[in-house]
């Protein structure tokens, strides 16, 4: 009864990590089953348990990272959703904030509203920004609107009224009226899901929740049933975008919280690993086939944002120019994503410059050298040419590579047009991909006033450790951490988070004028809600923890900064000071004569498990069924200064704590790590590798 299982679903593979009570870890990749992902999970898990002779009741807990919520939005497979809103505001959801995510773009098309205009109906009522009723809810008209909506066949209903963040009474009354008529229909109201100011953002959030609720709920029910069929009664938890886990029932009710489930797990894993290695400041870099993602861990904690733009695509500018996707106002680990990965296509633009991505060869047809029909050169093809990636076959896979085909594509498509040699062209592609991916790292560091040079870089995802050193060099980063099981690290990260629930409420008032007792009440009310949620997931009062936060800004500022709120009594002065310090750190100045506004209060309710989530020691059982090509050498091109040299290919266990001088290549079941000349790698706790980048060059 001690195995904990992390399950991370990707488009091609489902990664699973099993960990026993002593930190013994076993990793496995099984093919995903997109028709019904729960089938692939259940079958893969059953096979693994059988192979390792673990009884089903030996599983203590399963934690799952899933893309089912994201995919329901991206593929428009959610419920037909009806929306009830205030008279005069039928089109808030469709007007959005008007903004386009890319300048000058005549071809950009606004994503269609998730509730069609025909399914958005108005009710006469009005509440003002202080929560006072200006116009009473017209129940007769509301009843007629609800009847019309239900008769039209909507599969879920969202309710979002103007200023409901200040007073949810009208929303609650409408909800009662809907329930009286259709008790089983999925129903979400904005004052419960997100009592925050700004009507488009709140409406979009509640509509997205209603839209994906039936799909996510059905999937999670089936997964639970499939697990029941394996005779495991172990609790199933779902990873949230915020970095906490939540019980499966909570996830079914508020699926907006699990949208960035998988990427969040990798960051959580990196934070725990960093703590284990005694590093406080780490940038994480997760490179897959289509995108690269970056996040920041500072003082041991990852950064969170208060919103996601789902489906905004893989456009860096989306961080600045919102509006590309569907706004969801929930806490999420701040992860920047760019459209560059191993499968990114390479092209020469009209000005004669080399460009990489955002178009990707994806899993099908894949890079040219995979010989599965791909014709356009990709970043992976360049890495094959360089010798960074095994030119004969995919490590850990059955697939044989056709490196010559990849070489030919790069020669024809890049080297010849630019008048460069083959190695030079491949090196160029590798560097241009790094430049694109560095934007994600800069977005979470220097754009936020943090100097990337004082951070260690934790790299994972199948391609991360291939690019780690060259990327680190381009940002003057001196230390790289390659986690254990780097290629399936997100699945490992799933095993670490505690259960968390986040709750928020807008106050929007001057901090000085805020009544301390009222403030304390507001936190108390949020904590009562949090306590209720944790109780329903079986946590005893002694296992509960609450953290208080406040969003503050100088009056008129757009971006409120979130600061922790501690202590009892009148905490306003302390809040003002933490805010001013944070403002100075982020934006370079504080302004003590200005009015500080208290925008939102937030709490995190945390349920601690009985046993520690993070093991003291961690030992990966190496896969023996697919051997890496250790013991060989191959020629690798390290750029014009070094040229092409023969380097040994080794396994991770050939590196000691004393370290080993580059150059060499570490091949493993799930990833490849490139350590160029001038760098040194050593084994660290948990089986991580720490690479010192150019230690001889010094500062």
């Amino acid at each position: 009864m001690s195995e904990r299982v992390g399950i991370d679903i990707g488009g091609t593979f489902t990664d699973m990590v099993l960990m026993d009570g002593e930190g013994g870890v076993f990793t496995v990749k099984v093919p995903s089953t997109p028709d019904d992902y729960s089938r692939g999970i259940a079958e893969g898990l059953a096979a693994e348990l059988a192979a390792r002779e673990i009884p089903a009741d030996g599983i203590a807990e399963l934690i799952h990272g899933t893309t089912v919520a994201t995919n329901a939005i991206l593929e428009k497979r959610g419920a037909r959703t009806g929306l009830l809103t205030t008279e005069g505001f039928r089109d808030v959801l469709e007007i959005r904030r008007l903004r386009m995510p890319r300048l000058y773009d005549l071809r950009w098309t606004k994503p269609p509203a998730l509730a069609a205009r025909a399914d958005r109906l108005e009710v006469p009522e009005r509440i003002d920004h202080k929560g006072r009723v200006l116009t009473a809810l017209d129940e007769a008209a509301a009843g007629a609107a609800i009847d019309r909506l239900l008769a039209s066949g909507v599969e879920a209903v969202a309710i979002s009224l103007i200023n409901a963040y200040a007073n949810g009474a009208h929303e609650e009354r409408l909800a009662e009226m809907v329930r009286a008529r259709a008790p089983d229909l999925p129903l979400c109201i904005s004052s419960e899901i997100l009592p925050e100011i700004k009507e488009y953002e709140r409406t979009s959030t509640v509509v997205v929740n209603a839209y994906i609720l039936p799909v996510v709920s059905r999937y999670l029910r089936r997964l639970r049933e499939a697990l029941d069929a394996l005779s495991t009664t172990a609790p199933l938890k779902i990873m949230q975008s915020s970095g906490g886990a939540m019980g499966v029932e909570a996830a079914r009710a508020r699926p907006i919280h699990i949208i960035e489930s998988g990427p969040a797990a990798g960051v959580v894993g990196a934070a725990e690993l960093a703590a284990k290695l005694g590093r406080k400041d780490v940038l994480t870099f997760d490179m897959g086939g289509t995108t690269a993602k970056a996040a920041i861990i500072e003082d041991g904690a990852y950064d969170r944002v208060g919103e996601l733009d789902v489906g905004a695509g893989i456009n860096f500018a989306a961080r600045l120019l919102k509006g590309g996707g569907y706004h969801v106002g929930v806490p999420a680990i701040d992860i920047a994503e760019v459209g560059a990965g191993g499968g990114s296509l390479v092209r020469i633009d009209a000005g004669g410059s080399l460009a990489v991505g955002p178009e990707s060869a994806g899993a099908v047809p894949g890079p040219v050298s995979y010989d599965q029909g791909g014709e356009t050169a990709t970043v992976t093809d360049a890495n094959v040419v360089l010798g960074f990636v095994n030119p004969d076959r995919l490590v850990g896979g059955e697939l044989m590579l056709n490196a010559e085909k990849g070489r030919e594509a790069i020669r024809r498509q890049v080297a010849n047009p630019l008048g460069a040699g083959l190695d030079e062209a491949a090196w160029g592609i590798h560097q241009v991909a790094n430049a694109a991916m560095a934007r994600a790292l800069r977005a979470v560091s220097s754009e936020r006033g943090r100097d990337p040079r004082r951070f260690a870089l934790a790299v994972f995802g199948g391609n991360g450790p291939v690019h780690a050193v060259t990327l680190a060099r381009s940002l003057d980063i001196k230390e790289i951490i390659v986690p254990p099981a780097a290629g399936v690290f997100s699945a490992l990260g799933l095993l670490f988070p505690e259960t968390e629930h986040h709750h928020v409420r807008t106050l929007k008032q001057g901090l000085d004028g805020t009544d301390p007792a009222g403030l304390s009440d507001a936190f108390g009310t949020l904590e009562a809600t949090g306590r209720e949620g944790l109780e329903s997931e079986g946590f005893a009062a002694s296992a509960m923890e609450f953290e208080r936060f406040a969003d503050l800004c100088y009056r008129g500022e757009n971006a409120a900064l979130t600061v922790p709120v501690g202590g009892a009594g009148d905490v306003r002065a302390e809040m003002a000071e933490s805010f001013a310090a944070e403002h100075e750190r982020t934006f370079g100045y504080r302004s003590d004569d200005e009015v500080v506004e208290l925008v939102n209060v937030r709490i995190v309710a945390r349920g601690r498990s009985d046993t520690p989530r993070v093991p003291q020691a961690l030992a990966i059982t190496p896969r023996t069924d697919i051997a890496a090509e250790a013991g060989r050498r191959r020629p690798v091109y390290f750029g014009p200064e070094v040229g092409r040299i023969e380097v040994p290919v080794i396994t991770r266990d050939a590196i000691s704590a004393d370290g080993r001088e580059g150059p060499f290549i570490v091949e493993e079941y799930d990833s490849t790590t490139v350590v160029p000349p001038g760098c040194r790698a050593r084994a660290a706790e948990w089986g991580a590798l720490v690479i010192d980048v150019d230690p001889e060059r010094g500062e």
Partner: protein, 595 residues
């Protein structure tokens, strides 16, 4: 005036390795975006933080634009003008720790509310670059709150006018300047806060640019900048060369300047010859008495922004882009006005310049350019007054409508245009910070220009004033001359503004006005809709049905404008009746607009 603004650089670029060039190109763009993100997060005013009416840019040591943040397209060509002004004024007297400021429309800015800050960047005593930021201030003093009135008749009425002066010296703020600014504007916290956010952006730009130079070495960096501009020029020329040679003309109008009743003409002839383009505004009306005149850099900016939209979007934002595209303007015209012309509401001229240029570009790229829309912020509203404690308030918002239709899709309902990237202001924010209640913000059914591809719907926004008394100023247009349709699509519907007084009396307002409002008065703004594209009778009946189901058009309008007859509930298309109805409309209009 156009000739003096030629940014072409005669120095031939060295052929450098394309990989390093790509890396530096991305790094520069990323720095400019970091500057932009800084402003967005720290600015105080709606117009900056929500409407994104600001820009950031980087220049090399000689003053050539090397990168611009993804901000307001209309500022793109205007930023080099700001550097030029600072170079003219300070020349060799630029020192480390300086930041310069200006808002003079003929000397660094393009109207008084746009306060531009420029920081020279030094490395070991050598000037190696500039970081610049420009942001539209919510108020700049003058006759009318909001700094955007269209009814001033000389620049001196429009507010505080700062020539290029030092805002920072030796890294210290020049308190005198800050005090003068704070004393001259109605909402000093907001304005000074926004200017501070510009300063923060310049500081961040400086730090990042120096890091980049440090990585590559100064000589290499300077050579790379030259190559980057040459590369951009080559890219632009290759793109222009793909366009068919010829002269393409178009004319559009502004209703009036709010003072004289006459229609104002915007005329353009675009000549495409090989890999170069000339955009000539000969025939455009002389400068007008009202404050909607545009200075040359603003006109050129609007024209360049439109051309960018029909070329490859990967062309970098730098001076190389301007070289093959010349903008020529008649002196003392509404597109190249001379002092002391009033210019506060010159945004309107900019939007119409863009509409006119797009009309000509539609002939060059008929597969790409839609009909005209209401998606330029044609209605600007500013409201000012004093609350019960005597504290001034200023509300400033630019309202954006919908796109014109075609040539391959319907005009997007409610979306910002390509020359601005304005957002709206949430009703809940307006209500929590201003003496206003937003009573309505939605589409108007049956309002879109008709066509095979219909225009976007008109939007309306109703504001109830809850203060005691205020002065409201509206600068709108597209009342007499609606957004144009193309290829047989109808024009959009015109805009309108009425005020329902607390007494219940309705007042029809002109497109541009200034009036006193009192508690309980409701201002009803209706924006113009988008023009249609192609023959409305060729619109697929299924598309007409979908609009009826969504209540974007009524069944009666479907029958009358599109000849599509619907039947039953839920409605379906009656194919036979539709055929008959379309035949009847063709007969009726055989000498009409669709013939």
């Amino acid at each position: 005036m156009a000739e003096q603004f030629d940014l072409a650089d005669p120095r031939a670029g060295r052929a450098r390795d394309p990989f390093t060039l790509e890396v530096v190109k991305n790094a520069l763009a990323s720095i400019a975006d970091e500057m932009a993100a800084t402003i967005q997060r720290t600015a105080r005013s709606f117009v900056v933080k929500e409407a994104l009416d600001y820009s950031t840019a980087l220049f090399d040591g000689t003053g050539r634009l090397i990168a611009q943040g993804t901000c307001l397209p209309l500022h793109m060509g205007a930023m080099p003008h700001a550097i030029l002004a600072m170079q003219n004024h300070f020349g060799d007297d630029m020192r480390p720790g300086d930041i310069y400021v200006s808002n003079d429309p003929w000397d660094g800015s393009t109207h008084l509310p746009d306060v531009v800050c420029v920081k020279p960047i030094f490395l070991a005593g050598k000037l190696v670059g500039f970081a610049a930021a420009l942001a539209h201030q919510t108020d700049i003093g003058g006759r009318v709150a909001g700094g955007n009135a269209s009814d001033s008749t000389e620049i001196y009425q429009e507010g505080l006018r700062l020539p290029p002066i030092r805002l920072y010296e030796n890294g210290e703020p020049c308190e005198t300047v800050f005090r003068i600014i704070a004393r001259n504007v109605r909402v000093p916290e907001t304005v000074v806060g926004d200017i501070r956010s510009e300063v923060s952006a310049c500081m961040i730009g400086e730090r990042q640019l120096l890091d980049l130079i440090d990585r590559h070495g100064l000589d290499e960096f300077e050579a790379l900048c030259t190559e980057l501009l040459d590369y951009t020029e080559r890219f632009t020329r290759a793109e222009v060369a793909k366009l068919p040679d010829g002269v393409y003309r178009f004319t559009d109008y502004i209703d009036d300047d709010g003072i004289d009743p006459d229609r104002i003409t915007f005329q353009v002839a675009i000549t495409v010859a090989g890999e170069e383009m000339v955009i000539d505004f000969a025939g455009t009306s002389p400068q007008v008495r009202g404050a909607i005149n545009s200075v040359y850099p603003f006109t050129a900016s609007a024209a360049w922004a439109c051309v960018r939209a029909i070329l490859d979007l990967d062309i970098p934002n730098n001076a190389g882009f301007f070289r093959p595209i010349k903008v020529v303007t008649p002196p003392r015209s509404i597109v190249d006005c001379a002092p002391p012309s009033p210019v506060a509401a010159r945004g309107l001229a900019g939007f119409r310049i863009a509409d006119t240029v797009m009309g000509a570009l539609a002939q060059i790229r008929p597969d790409m350019v839609p009909a005209s829309g209401g998606n330029s912020p044609d209605a600007g509203v500013s409201l000012g007054g004093y609350d019960e404690t005597g504290k001034p308030f200023v509300y400033l918002e630019f309202l954006v409508g919908s796109w014109g239709g075609g040539p391959w899709r319907d005009g997007m309902d409610a979306c910002t245009g390509i020359i601005v990237n304005y957002a709206n202001t949430p009703a809940e924010l307006v209500e929590s910070e201003q003496p206003l209640i937003v009573e309505r913000y939605e589409y108007i059914a049956d309002s879109a220009g008709t066509g095979e591809w219909r225009g976007g719907l008109a939007l309306e926004r109703h504001l109830r004033f809850t203060g005691k008394e205020g002065i409201i100023q509206v600068r709108s247009d597209r009342r007499k001359v609606a957004p144009y349709g193309l290829e047989g699509g109808s024009d959009g519907q015109p805009s309108n503004v009425t005020i329902t007084r607390a007494s219940g009396a309705d007042e029809q307002m002109p497109s541009k006005f200034l009036t006193t409002i009192r508690e309980g008065d409701v201002i009803r703004l209706r924006l113009a809709s988008g023009g249609g594209h192609g023959d409305p009778l060729a619109r697929p009946p299924a598309a007409v049905l979908a609009d009826v189901v969504d209540e974007k058009i009524t069944p009666a309008f479907a029958a009358e404008a599109y000849g599509v007859v619907l039947t039953g509930s839920p409605p379906t298309v009656d194919a036979t009746a539709t055929k008959l109805q379309r035949g009847a409309i063709r007969g009726r209009t055989s000498s009409g607009p669709y013939s």
